[in-house]
């Protein structure tokens, strides 16, 4: 540990910076004898490994790492400072970046064409590392913008099509609106603190009037909520994530949107401190709506990557549920006791789920990329049977699917278990208001609905993608992906299993971070299970989840069952029963038909519409062709963004009337403005 600590304070940050700069330069090299993209990606992989090490080193001893790179015009240009909270996000970035880079080495081996956006990839990783480490507003916004610009370039990709360009443009616009909100929030804090350093923000925020604090909070919620992709700020996400190359989608979905969570926890919870009840209620509501609508829209998709993008919204929602409960509980009482324990558990749940989502969402996006590469399509209705031809991808996808569905003993269950503990605990906490308690208990139902819907969606995605007969010739001819890609996916899948089993110690480590963020005294860690690792002295939460015993139990039962019922048993293989007709792929359920009941059950929200066109053989009642087209409506897009867009265009047309193009008129405007200003300033 001492070695790690000395590495962290000394050479690691510098090594990361140097590796990323070299990687950017390598990507810009002309295509010579060496493959510049491969070199660049290898350097990015090394840098990510260093970021991962740095994160673990900072988290393990609970140390803080500070490094500076000089000042420009009196502003500290880049001053990074990693504490425990930042370290968690660094670990997510390091793991996601390492896997994505290794994966990209494999996937770019075939495609040697030049890609002008390749240098943006290391910049993207570096800017994320800076966002998590920035310790003043100037550096933070600089890194934030760099992150937005580099990721927009990556979404645009090497050969942009119309769709891609539109998605990148929408992303670009919305992310800047979000940044504008952040700039205003920071401006208020900076003017109160008299400095751009975050260290002074906490005290400054405490001195603000309650109204000003709430304005700052709302601005932060809009700004960070947009980056996180929480509904209703999500419209860019399902458009931008699917069109990016898969290793970029993995990083954007797995890590970048977490920058929004990081910001909300860092500024909303740590710096602004406990606020009025409605802050927590607002975050809880955003979380519940994002979780339920996110997974419902995911279910309606049969484009594998769009489906995964909507699941990012869902998981951001689950994370926000944890953050919301933490805010409610932290605001209800500082004097310790039950509520402070609930605040801690809920925050651990949010941060743990953040880390877990980075792992399983990355593996899912990478597997989706492998499928797209092998089949040339990511439409689930064109896939099928890939488990035979692409076993590594299939197993990695299945593990990711089980983890994201919150199935024990994988990592997704552990963090959702903690979220449930936080919600139910808050529901029973006498010191919270009845409104807050009712809200958290309603959220229990919302989270239950979300997890059940997630199971449906991932049975659908795994089953349609990888099982039974191929639904197209391309799917039948698919081949397994190169080894580097497989290794990246396998590594992430293993991490999902390992962290699921080690949920106790991992959540214990996160618990230390949570106590710091919440400003609570540290708790001794004892005994097995997650809750015990966080201290069982919390009234109302006397439950435990022992991940290791469960994993051992399930493995043992599984081994016994396999040995008794499968191994060495006679098996006869026969055609599937299809009522006596020769089976063919068209008999299989499709992704669309699998989700039909959900479409009807949740019709009031999804409002499905369908169009069936039947063309008959002339003169007979027998159909020659049947065409089916179905769609659902996205409420937020249609009720909020479409009117908003229309209003903006109409406003622009009104303003255009002032723009006549005549120089005299413009001079008249200037003179009028000057006179008005002088009149105003005279007083």
């Amino acid at each position: 540990m001492n070695l790690l600590a000395s590495l962290a304070t000394g050479p690691l940050p510098i090594a990361i910076a140097v590796l990323l700069v070299l990687s950017t330069l390598a990507a810009a090299l002309p295509n010579a004898r060496v493959n510049p993209r491969g070199l660049s990606l290898a350097l990015a992989a090394l840098a990510s490994a260093a970021i991962l090490t740095l994160g673990i080193a900072v988290l393990a001893p609970g140390a803080t790492v500070t490094a500076g790179l000089g000042e420009v015009l009196g502003f500290p240009l880049v001053r990074v400072c990693y504490d425990g909270l930042a370290a968690l996000f660094l670990i997510a970035l390091g793991a996601g970046g390492l896997a994505s880079s290794v994966y990209a080495i494999g996937s770019s081996a075939r495609d040697r064409g030049s890609d002008r956006t390749a240098p943006a990839y290391p910049v993207f990783i570096g800017s994320l590392a800076l966002v998590f480490g920035a310790s003043d507003a100037f550096a933070f916004l600089l890194a934030w913008e760099l992150m937005a610009l580099s990721s927009a370039a990556l979404v645009l990709g090497a050969r942009p099509s119309g769709d891609t360009a539109r998605a990148a443009y929408l992303y670009f616009t919305l992310t800047h609106l979000a940044t504008a909100a952040l700039v205003v929030a920071f401006a208020i804090l900076v003017s109160a603190a008299g400095t751009t350093s975050f260290e002074a923000f906490g005290a400054a925020a405490a001195d603000l009037s309650p109204a000003a604090r709430s304005v700052v909070f709302v601005l932060l919620l809009v700004g960070f909520g947009t980056k996180a992709g929480a509904i209703p700020f999500h419209v860019w996400l399902p458009r931008a994530h699917p069109v990016a190359p898969s290793h970029v989608s993995a990083l954007m979905s797995g890590v970048m949107i977490k920058a929004g969570i990081y910001g909300l926890v860092r500024f909303g919870l740590e710096i602004l401190g406990p606020g009025p009840e409605w802050w927590g209620l607002a975050v809880l509501a955003l979380g519940a709506v994002s979780a339920v609508l996110g997974v419902l829209y995911a279910l309606m998709e049969h484009d594998l990557k769009r489906l995964l993008a909507f699941h990012s919204i869902e998981n951001i929602g689950i994370i926000l549920l944890g953050v919301g409960v933490a805010m409610l509980a932290a605001g209800a009482g500082q004097e310790g006791g039950a509520v402070s324990g609930i605040a801690r558990i809920a925050l651990v749940a949010a941060l743990f789920h953040t880390l877990n989502h980075a792992l399983f969402k990355s593996v899912l996006f990478l597997a989706a990329g492998s499928v797209q590469r092998a089949v040339g399509s990511r439409d689930l209705n064109q896939l099928g049977g890939l488990a035979r031809t692409m076993p590594v991808t299939a197993v990695a996808f299945a593990v990711g699917a089980a983890a994201i569905s919150g199935l024990p003993p994988l990592n997704g269950f552990a963090s959702e278990w903690l979220t449930f503990q936080g919600l139910i605990g808050a529901g029973g906490a006498a010191s919270l208001s009845l409104v807050a308690r009712s809200a958290t208990l309603i959220a229990v139902g919302a989270l239950g609905l979300t997890t059940a819907l997630a199971v449906v969606c991932f049975v659908k995605a795994t089953g349609m993608g990888f099982l039974a007969r191929p639904r197209s010739a391309a799917a039948a001819a698919a081949n397994e992906t190169p080894r580097a890609m497989g290794a990246a996916m396998a590594g992430l899948a293993l991490a999902c299993v390992a962290i699921g089993i080690a949920a106790g110690p991992v959540s214990g480590a996160i618990g230390t971070v949570a106590t710091t963020v919440l400003g609570q005294p540290a708790v001794a860690a004892t005994g097995p299970g997650i809750a015990s690792a966080l201290g069982t002295s919390v009234p109302g939460l006397e439950a435990a989840y022992g991940a290791l015993p469960l994993a051992v139990l399930i493995s043992l039962l599984g081994l016994v069952g396999w040995g008794a019922a499968v191994r060495g048993r006679r098996v006869r293989r026969e055609p599937t029963w299809t009522c006596g007709v020769a089976p063919e792929p068209a008999f299989q359920y499709t992704a669309t038909s699998y989700a039909k009941l959900i479409r009807l059950y949740f019709g009031p929200v999804l409002r499905p519409a369908r169009e069936v066109r039947v063309e008959l053989h002339p003169g007979t009642p027998f159909p020659r062709t049947v065409r089916y087209r179905g769609e659902i409506s996205h409420l937020i897009d249609e009720r909020i963004y479409r009117p908003l867009h229309g209003a903006t265009v109409r406003a622009a047309e009104l303003i255009r009337r002032v723009q006549s193009g005549s120089l005299q008129l413009y001079l008249a405007y200037s003179v009028t403005a000057l006179v008005v200003l002088l009149l105003v300033a005279r007083r």
Binding site: G384, A387, R388, G406, L407, P408, F413, E416, W417, F420, G428, L434, S438, G445, G448, L449, A452, L453, V455, V456, V459, T462, G463, L467, G529, P539, L541, E542, A543, A544, G546, L550, L553, I554, L557, G558, G561, A564, A565, V566, R569, R570, V571, R572, R573, P575, T576, W577, T578, C579, P585, F587, Q588, Y589, Y594, K596, L597, I598, L600, Y601
Partner: protein, 320 residues
Amino acid sequence: MTDPTLDARIILGVAQVVLTLLVAPLLLGITKRVKARLQYRRGPDLLQPYRDLRKWWAKESVESDVAGPVSRAVPVVVLAATLAATLYIPIVAAWAPLDGWGDLVLVVGLMALARFALALGALDAGGAFGGMGSSREVAISTLVEPALLLALAGAAVAAGSTDLGTIAAHGAEAGTAWYTPALLLAAAAFAIVAVAETGHEPVDNPDTHLELTMIHEGMLLEATGPRLAMLTYAAELKVVVVIGLFAAAFLPAGVATALTPLALAVAIGAALGKLVLAAVILGLLDATLAKLRILALPGLLATASIVAAIGLATRLWLPA
């Protein structure tokens, strides 16, 4: 409630496991017998489910020629997950065999694991009926799970813990004070979804062999031999899991909270009584109710969520 010694815990655990494993097929026998009697049939022998399992276990497996390893692994995973779930439920005494290592959220999670595996396995053979059963099962579960968790959350709030042993002990020791209006509403909600979760009328007909109406049976259509035995046994055990959850949270009377011979005898009797009563009620439902249209199910099952929510509101907003 005093914690028993380790030896006592082990004996208690083994006793519950043996009881659970042995009684599960009998419950199906009782349900079938009750249904048959109400239809003026004699019905199969009470022990017929055991004979079915033995018969299937000895047979060879026939699998689809498009099936892969998933079809082989799924029955094992489904049975392992369901079996594991029973170990976290206090059925006889307030200490489940794995008491302290998992709570009601884990039991719901293990049920989800079993459902995920079962629904996935049904898609492996590439037939239409597997997809039909699978998509119906998971769609219905989305209506069931919120109600299940809301109902259990009510009991957890009342007991101050999500640990099932704590809830059961709390309830058993509180006596009649446990059965507040809020708890009864939660119990009603749970009872509605328990019928759906165990696959009985009016949600699913366990005896149907008409392909178009099958839900659970549709998913087992391609399973044969030992695999069918494992999946059927898992379904029988699931009834024990669901009723066990219900009993621990909403009907804890009789659960042993001390390890005296008398308390244990009463507890074993009470546990058997609750399970048999549930099996009889399921048989009554099967015989007297028609299957609801699958599109009408949200009307029934969403009601359960609303009842559970009203139960929670009662608990919070009405002074006791």
